[in-house]
Symmetry: C2
Amino acid sequence: MNLEFIKPDEIEARSFAIIEEKLKYKNIPENQKLILKRVIHTTADFDYIENLKFSEHAVEIALQALKNGASIITDTNMALSGIHKKSLHALGGKAYCFMADSDVAEQAKARGITRAMASMEKACDLKGDFIFAIGNAPTALYQLSELIDAKKINPKLIIAVPVGFVNVIESKNLIMQKKINYITAQGNKGGSSVAVAICNALLYQICRMA
Amino acid sequence: MNLEFIKPDEIEARSFAIIEEKLKYKNIPENQKLILKRVIHTTADFDYIENLKFSEHAVEIALQALKNGASIITDTNMALSGIHKKSLHALGGKAYCFMADSDVAEQAKARGITRAMASMEKACDLKGDFIFAIGNAPTALYQLSELIDAKKINPKLIIAVPVGFVNVIESKNLIMQKKINYITAQGNKGGSSVAVAICNALLYQICRMA
């Protein structure tokens, strides 16, 4: 056996210590650093030191919303699967993804919009406070922007981390220009895993300290 | 609206064209390139041009196995969620993740091993041919190595893409040293999204051409 056997909890602790070492001379607020560290833990990609951007007080507002039972709406079933639902449910929130819903598919087809756009519209019918975790579709961010302008929705936080090369940067810039709380990964990078890492870093700040 | 509206299929095509442009002077076999392109599409990370490594004939053997109805076993429920099950089922295969199974949790606790290790053992009880898609746990790769040596399992392919800083590189090297078909991401990078991208790139090579 060439591998040193280490228990999972200890692997995570060692991994975070390695990441912490790389961040020690960076001037990053502690609650943002907890999120950045989990994103790097998930991707092994230190580019996020420069890429990850937070609106003012984004983390504090998001933590308060989650403590008050805010739910999380995401645009991929992979992200839905990865969000730590035990923590979210303990706080009174739920996790939703409408992408595979038949009514969303019908709306999208009938109106020539993306399912991600129809999913964001469907979210307007829900009651309560919400955080959006967008890890795939730039069109979801575009639609959220329109729905916010039309005062149909007022999210507590938008996690704006689509990945890719087409409309990705533009959609993130659109969110960053609004008076809205956001956490985003500037540039092309992001994805479902990054969206999940940000959600869970927020949840663990509350639930692991409780 | 600052965003040009493009349909999802077209977004994928444009995205792949952008990636293709960056790869055009690289000498990469076509069937490997299809996998590399989907990994970059998923991560927006061109490091995979250098990182992604294939054993000889890995793609051909994996495609033949999938055509013959091989199943896919993964070590995260996020990856299970992302694998294109419609294509896999059409070929006669299934997708499995045993990480949340109560018997796996019990075995792991009783014997002081990780759930990922217990999951790999559970896979030995299944009939048929298998591809393993490991996007999280280095211990899953270590356990697969032991099970292969003990002739308890004979996977058609191991997708060895755990991510992180503790035992990740070592576990990938262990797989690369064996006489086994593998696709791996050398170094620290990888993850559930990368595992899914590789699985789906294989499935799409069969199902989108059929």
